[in-house]
Amino acid sequence: MNIGEKREMICINCPIGCLLTAEMTGEGIKVSGNTCPRGEKYAIAEITHPTRTLTTTVKVANRDDTYLPVKTAEPISKEKLFEAMETLNSVEVNAPVKIGDVVFSRVCGEADVVATGNVD
């Protein structure tokens, strides 16, 4: 963004969905419209390096027709979402597995993928 340029966006950090305005100034990005500090962080990240938490499922190899819900433990780069999906589509885990267990380490070199469900 150039100095003086403004961008409007909706904060996705919580369901309130504040309408944010980010303005590029000489001192950096200035954010308004946020109700809490997370909105400011979000707006700056959206402009500099947008990230998203990925949620999907992986197959449980030793249980019939069972899928385990998983997520990236931290948000990953937005443009790596599809690459991460491709990797995770071939991952299989073995039960028992419980919430928080790491099922794949550092997907796309960015974040661990952890179980969000339990399979006994």
């Binding site: 904060c11 369901p15 969905g17 998203r52 949620t55 899928y67 819900p69 919430i99 969000t116 469900g117």
Partner: protein, 423 residues
Amino acid sequence: MRTCDIAVIGGGPAGMAAAVAAHDAGIKDILIIERDEGLGGILRQCIHNGFGLHRFGEELTGPEYADRYKKMVIEREIPYVVKTMVLDITKSDGGDHIVTAMNSESGVFHINAKAVVLAMGCRERSRGQLNIPGDRPAGVYSAGTAQRFMNINGEMPGKNVVILGSGDIGLIMARRMTLEGANVKMVCELMPYSGGLNRNIVQCLHDFNIPLKLSHTVSKIHGKERVEGVTVSEVDEHLRVIPEKSEYVECDTLLLSCGLLPENELTKSAGIPLDRITGGAVVNQNRRTEDKGVYSCGNVLHVHDLVDYVSEEAELAGRSAAEYVLAGKKEPECIKTVNVHNAGAVRYTVPQVVDIYKEPKDIKIYFRVGAVLNNATITVKCGEKTLLSKKKRKVAPGEMEFVLLTEKMLGEVDSDIIVSAEN
């Protein structure tokens, strides 16, 4: 006959939170009755995140959120039965309620309960209720059904997808199917505004360049055995299809995400009055229905956009049911009962009735508007008196709002309360 102090119908987020709150308020003899295989309700298939920010101060996925409550149920050793259908709720001679239920182990059985908490949740509006002309080929699913296929069974419902309705589940499924390799061509919304949360429009549609076509509907489904395409048409301000503004869109799957309906067959057959707009029971601030001893909470009462609010409401209902039982089946001493009316853009409120107790407590009145308002003024009046007035930058039908009536304001209430939202 089996007896319990409180029977909770439904083991989803509302039922679990109600049971936990009732237990913490001093009632140990509780029974949760769940139809599905385990506790958790619809959250089991909601693998996306965004749950729990209000409740737990962190962002959880649906299964994680459900697990938190399941742990609380188990820690407290609250009894529950699964794979059990409740058939009927009737009044007993002694002023209790008799819950008739059925499962494969015990057949039909009865439970005498001093109080009942209704927490059956909601279901999706089906195609029959939507009335789209055309054949009935395979490939037309509700968004929730598609969600279950994918997230629980690991099956892809289709490759080329059109979604009708911009409810949150539809938006979430647009992203989910795109990430799994499907081509989600568009989301059509009949109304000129979206029915889902803004954040979901951003992270599920904008992120993947999926067009959201407002004031558009599916006017025809094509295909004999399997969906081959749909006719997408623009609608006028009376929501009528404009035939000249129609296009054929090839697809093999049509997902419907056109809103949720509280599941109140049990409530109805128990003779409990329902609100025409919410489709849920008419309740007071404690979520007590018009039938003494019966409480209602969560999506069976009115459709919430956030599970966090479901839990909060369910805790209130569970605690109120517990207090009622502990007081020997008595409600707090009440000076007068007033109704809550809607005005301006407000479509409904919950509660619909406020009992002014001798010792009043703060009350949150939840409401939804029927149109998008910018710079809205929200007021609460009682006769000529204005109890509260506040500004809000934006209110929209997709987002539930509330006003807080303090003890002090309630002290001034001498007639019906009117909640309004105006430009």
